[in-house]
């Protein structure tokens, strides 16, 4: 994987200090890196240029934020602009008072229309609706079978017949009306945006069933052509929104920015896996950090927010900083961490993984063993592991189903970590004392930031993944 934007900018601006407004040359240097990042993320060249101009304009006019260096300042603005473009007006789905509400799925071959047609139907069902799926892809062998098998999983009916796509759509609509369905989702065959005949065909389908919502399904890995594809489909069909798929891969997803820019309609949904439940409402801020190469920082935060009890986390962080962290705290933290979901997924969401670290290599079983060991300890033992002698080790090993060696190893490693933490914490402690001596008792900003990182008060404007020089 290439260096992240944050790494590269960190390197450039390591020693730079600017006062007042950002200088034009500062901005140009940073924007060149941003442009590279956008292009590497598959953002269309023209869109990247447009974006660059807009951001540079804004940067020139902005005041420097005292807590941020020029790189961070620019990134903050870039991130905000990206979120604004990707987000903007959310899709306000309303239902027709003359049911069914008709939805048409369109897109290139292989993007995930069929799978997402069912996901969307499932979503409508969860909203209390009564959907029906129309299998109008008569081109791909067994496409209708695929639709049927998936739809069966979620108990949604499918209509299709061996005629032609336009007739299927038309008859499907009649079927929907006669069976009292209030949402109709029409799957179509993948087609090249430059195939005039097939583009006309989908236009005819659209004219026949008059969709309330036409969605362009777009693959997150699409390259520079995404903009032209989106433009052609929009031109032919007048899109209402987009569905972005295969976000569980590692492509940066710049195609979405290009598509959004040219179509101007919301990205309504995001598909994050092959299973039917891997479907969610689109989050522009998450895609923004992804495009910039910052990892899915926000999903991580959200999950952390869900799992970590704020107060507990604050308490643990305080204890850590004061060198009081013990095995009890460690157990607590591990259990909180478990609530966030499989460790793989969490590590995978972290930006700035060092080279060669593969989130999938994370071995959860070891953590389970560690957890078992600590659980077999008494509270006193967790608080003061130094009292754990041979016979206690034996008891703990038996109780946790592990070995004496593993127990000893854990105690040794924990002692090491604690020692290191104490060493790391001391300078802050001194600083803290210093500031409380003469000045207004301002809390050490670094200590505060660390606390913030372990709680959920993650202030994005500081970009936690930034390496402050």
């Amino acid at each position: 994987m290439f260096d992240t934007l944050t790494d590269r900018l960190g390197n450039i601006f390591g020693r730079l200090r600017s006062k007042g407004k950002l200088s034009e040359s500062d901005i140009n240097t940073v924007m060149a890196e941003v442009r590279t990042a956008l292009l590497e993320a598959d953002v269309n060249l023209k869109v990247a240029r447009q974006f660059q101009d807009k951001v540079s304009e804004r940067c020139l006019q902005s005041e420097i934020h005292t807590a941020l260096n020029p790189a961070q300042q620019v990134i903050k603005i870039v991130n905000e602009e990206l979120i604004e473009i990707l987000g903007g007006q959310a899709l306000n789905l309303t239902y027709s008072d003359k049911p069914p509400t008709v939805v048409l799925m369109a897109g290139l071959q292989g993007v995930g229309k069929t799978t997402n047609a069912v996901k969307l139907a499932k979503w409508f069902k969860s909203q209390g609706r009564n959907p029906i799926l129309i299998g109008a892809d008569l081109q791909r062998p067994a496409a209708v079978e695929q639709l049927r098998i998936l739809a069966e999983e979620v108990e949604i009916p499918v209509f299709s017949e061996k005629s032609d796509p336009i007739t299927v759509a038309k008859n499907g609509l009649s079927e929907a009306i006669s069976t009292g369905r209030d949402v109709l989702i029409c799957d179509t065959a993948g087609r090249l945006s430059i195939d005039e005949d097939l583009m006309n065909e989908i236009r005819q389908i659209s004219d026949e069933i008059k969709p309330h919502y036409t969605f362009l399904v777009i693959d997150a890995m699409t390259g520079q052509e995404a903009i032209n594809v989106a433009d052609s489909f929009n031109d032919k069909l007048s899109l209402d929104g987009m569905i972005l798929t295969k976000l569980d891969g590692d492509s940066r997803g710049g195609a979405a920015l290009s598509a959004k820019t040219i179509v101007g309609k919301p990205i309504a949904f995001a598909s994050t896996g092959e299973k039917l439940e891997d479907f969610e409402v689109f989050h522009p801020d998450r895609l923004a950090s992804r495009i910039l190469g910052m990892g899915d920082v926000l999903t991580l935060i959200e999950k952390a927010e869900d799992a970590f009890d704020q107060q507990e986390a604050q308490r643990a962080a305080d204890r850590l900083l004061n060198g009081q962290f013990n095995l009890e705290d460690f157990l607590e933290q591990m259990q909180q961490l478990k609530k966030m979901g499989p460790l793989q997924n969490i590590v995978g969401m972290m930006p700035d993984l060092p080279q060669g670290v593969n989130p999938d290599d994370v071995d959860e079983t070891r953590l389970t063993r560690v957890e078992a060991i600590i659980t077999s300890m008494t509270h006193e033992e967790r608080d003061r592991p130094e009292i754990i002698d041979g016979s206690r080790r034996n008891r703990i090993a038996k109780g946790s189903g592990t070995s004496i060696q593993e127990v000893s190893l854990l105690i040794k490693q924990f002692k090491e970590i604690k020692r290191m933490m104490k060493g790391a914490v001391k300078p802050n402690k001194r600083k803290k004392k210093k500031s409380s001596r003469g000045r207004k008792g301002k809390q050490n900003p670094r200590a505060k930031k660390e606390i913030n990182q372990t709680t959920n008060a993650f202030d994005l404007s500081e970009f936690g993944s930034f390496k402050n020089s």
């Binding site: 292009l39 590497e40 890995m221 520079q224 891969g249 710049g254 593969n358 290599d361």
Partner: protein
Amino acid sequence: MKKISTELENTRKTFSFFSRLKRNSPVDNGLWNEIEEALIQADVGVTATSRIIEVLQAKSKELRLSTSESILDLLKEQLKNSLQKFNTELDSGGDPSVWVFVGVNGVGKTTSVAKVANWKSNENERVVLAAGDTFRAAASEQLEKWANSCGAELIKGAEGADPSSVIYDATEYAQAKNASLVLADTAGRLHTKSNLMQELEKIVRVANKGSGTVTEVLLVLDATVGQNGLQQAKSFAESVDLTGIILTKLDGSSKGGIIFAIAEELAIPIKLIGIGEGKEDLIPFDPEIFVEKILDFQEAS
């Protein structure tokens, strides 16, 4: 196999960047910027583009080229040369030979299997298809329809069956029936999922255990995909020994420029090109054809 149709040529001309590059313009920054833009828009990527332009600039200087025409001609040759180094033959050395088709979701693996089956059947080879995608709904039904259409036999398992065993069974069947070639389809998988990549390793390993020999592991790559194509190639190459690439959907407006980076950084040859959804829409990779017709780097008419 098919030849690129005039129709396809004409479609591509409309989307050409290279043919549009003015041939009589001065050799200045404007020219270099245009070349850079054309390459980036073709999905060549920032790093590979810089590399190409660096070499081009150095060579142009060395040869004292003074017209944009001569520089563009040089670029065309340079691009062709960077794709020349590979052996694009497909290895039929096994008895039977097993060719495994791998790649991420939606790239055209199953359709490519069908195209190769069609091609080889037309050359009077007895081909057995293995429905190794046991995950996706109706995947084996899809392949079955193709098998019928191409006159190849199909071995499939129950849904959710172990893909390795389906493919293994296909190799044993092929051996028993004196079929020379087994084409194994596999489920689409994102290279970021290590359990799926491990499954793929197992598939190839097991496929070699029986009577057949895996002589080709072909990465099916969608030309529509941008920079992630390079990462896909790298990741798949880490798990299995990729012997070649099939670049699909070149009938679309995407140029597939990521192959320059793949050629430069990994040594995986592009062997075949897909140019449509039909079973005939397959052509062998040829750098000349790719650069001239796909990138559409032809003489301005």
